[in-house]
């Protein structure tokens, strides 16, 4: 599972903070309690010393009951045992006001009043442990919440700022296409690593574009250079067949040669066309009437269909005008026609439907669906029995891509269907 860089850093920070705070919570509780108890010890001893120093010297036995009444947290009790030492202990008492047990820290100290031994009992009301824990938890919660929101906001702001050049680069690369001439341009950043990254990517892209371009040019040049020898080949055959001495057998050979040159010519034309489309050598701002093109080519393809008793049905009611390249659109349509006719079974039918949204060519064909993975690959012959050069569908796909249209193939009820969506 992948997640964003930001959330990943943030997660580590948060985890660390939470662990630290949770581990420290009992320690914090322990220290707070110790400190508090020490303090209450001191308070009790201080009060005892005060009593011994200020009150005791003038204390009479008759004063005890009054003193006991006035002082809330101190009592003088008759002592039975004669203990010499102070004793400190804890004791809970039910409080009628708060309606719960209140913990007390108690100091019992032996005193002498008019020669008789008494015990001075002083007490300090302690915070309940429950209250202490509750308060600590509350405090911790507030700290954690503040810390986390703080961390989140700071990390987010910092990271967004720090990683901005990186996301810029990322966006540029995502939009980059090797076969388009638009090369990404990175703006210099103030961070060394990102500058390095940008430089390296620029170099990589530049190198690859260069290689791609020279490959493309090579195909185009090769195809161009082949035109002249092909022309010589063609013209030599055209001249040779004028010789009246040629026999029937020789004509048979010449027919084969002639068919080969036709295939060679077509192959070369297709390669040239593909490389020209790759090289963006076609203007795309022409007004093109699809109905007209389909209708005009119908004549020619009806001739073809007739020879194999294939019926062509067409539904061209809607008038479809597109802004694209006229020549390429003609090539697209003729390739769709040809592809459909070539793969239609004898006595089958071919239907064409044109709407504002799409153009559909469907034909009755073999009972198996075509291999959709290889469909548009160059030179992948799906049906080895045909003499096609395996470039027809690649050309269709190229033109569709060039126009940012889409093409879908489906196979239903023995109907092979190609749909071009505009």
């Amino acid at each position: 599972m992948t997640e964003k860089l930001l959330s990943k850093t943030l997660k580590s920070y948060l985890l660390f903070s939470v662990v630290i705070l949770l581990v420290l919570a009992p320690v914090f509780y322990f220290f707070t309690e110790r400190l508090y108890l020490d303090d209450s010890d001191e308070t009790l001893i201080l009060r005892k010393n005060e009593f011994i120093k200020l009150t005791l010297p003038s204390m009479k036995e008759s004063d005890i009951s009054i003193w006991n009444k006035i002082s809330k947290d101190g009592k003088i009790e008759k002592s039975n045992s004669i203990s010499e030492k102070d004793s400190l202990y804890f004791h809970s008492e039910f409080d009628i006001y708060t309606n719960e047990n209140e913990p007390y820290h108690i100091l019992k100290s032996p005193i002498l009043i008019e020669g008789k031994s008494y015990s001075l009992v002083l007490r300090v009301n302690l915070i309940e442990t429950k209250d202490l824990i509750l308060n600590i938890v509350l405090l911790y919660s507030i700290i954690i919440i503040l810390l986390l929101t703080g961390l989140y906001i700071i990390t987010k702001k910092m990271s967004t700022k720090l990683w901005k050049p990186f996301y810029n680069t990322l966006n540029q690369i995502e939009q980059f296409e090797l076969d388009k001439d638009k090369i990404p341009e990175f703006t210099p950043t103030s961070i060394e690593e990102f500058d390095r990254l940008n430089n390296d990517i620029s170099k990589l892209i530049e190198k690859n574009s260069q290689i791609f371009k020279s490959q493309r040019e090579f195909v185009e040049n090769a195809a161009h250079e082949l035109q002249t020898p092909l022309a010589i080949f063609q013209l030599t055959i055209d001249s040779l067949i004028q010789d009246p001495k040629i026999t029937a057998e020789q004509f048979e050979i010449l027919t084969k040669l002639n068919n080969t040159i036709v295939r060679l010519k077509r192959l070369n034309t297709s390669l040239l066309l593909l490389s020209k489309i790759d090289g963006n050598q076609f203007v795309t701002n022409e007004k093109v009437n699809l109905n007209e093109i389909i209708f005009n080519q119908m004549d020619f393809f009806k001739d073809q269909a007739l020879a194999r008793t294939i019926e062509i049905k067409s539904d061209l009611k809607e008038n479809v005008l597109l802004t694209t390249n006229n020549e390429l659109t003609e090539i697209l349509i003729s390739n769709l026609y040809l592809n459909a006719i070539k793969h239609t079974v004898q006595n089958g039918s071919l239907s064409i439907r044109l709407t504002k949204e799409s153009l559909i060519f469907s034909n009755t064909g073999d009972h198996i669906s075509l291999d959709t993975d290889k469909l548009y690959q160059r030179f992948s012959k799906l049906n080895p029995s045909t003499h096609g050069n395996g470039l027809g569908l690649s050309i269709i796909k190229k033109i569709v891509d060039q126009n940012k249209w889409s093409i879908h193939y489906s196979f239903e009820n023995n109907q092979h269907l190609f749909e071009v969506k505009f």
Binding site: T228, I232, L235, S239, Q242, K265
Partner: protein, 225 residues
Amino acid sequence: MKILIIEDEIQLAESIQGYLKSNDFVIELASTIEIASEKIELYSYDCILLDLMLPDGNGFEILKKLQQLNKTSGVIILSAKETLETKIEGFNFGADDYLTKPFHLSELLVRIQALIRRKNFQGNNILTFEEINIDLQSKSVKVNNILIDTTKKEFELLLFLIGNKNKVLSKGSIAEHLSGDLADMLDNHDFIYAHIKNLKKKLNEASCRDYIKTVYGFGYKWQND
């Protein structure tokens, strides 16, 4: 009729020369701009076949020279390059037609004939072959003065056959002439058989002699004997 072929591929030029020779054309060859320039300065040609990529420069220079010299020769560019820009540039410099290599000799021949007709016989648009009269303007055909009804394809086919009389034409070259680039895509050119058959039938019905001969499985020939 005088024709100058400016082409550095000797084999190509010779094939063209061989094919055109039998059609009462006088043909001269030039393989460089230098030789060609000299020739167009000295002589007048009815038609010039011009290759664009020549060893000593671009064929457009010849077009400019022709304009300077005020020569009215028709020019057909023969080029391996088929971009819209070169075509437009060619026409702007005064070329009359543009054929992309590879092409068929039969196609070249009818293009030359059409060009010369346009240049020389303005107003006279009747082509006659024995008992056949073809009106190029109204695109109508008369056999023994009887008008026969031909389709557009049949009319073009007839012109193509007569233009290439006594020449063997491959089915492919006929298909290409009738259907242009579309024919290029097909393996099977048998569809032209239907057009030939229909044309033959119509000519026969007007008691025209049978000039169209089948050449084995290869193609057809318009023969007048």
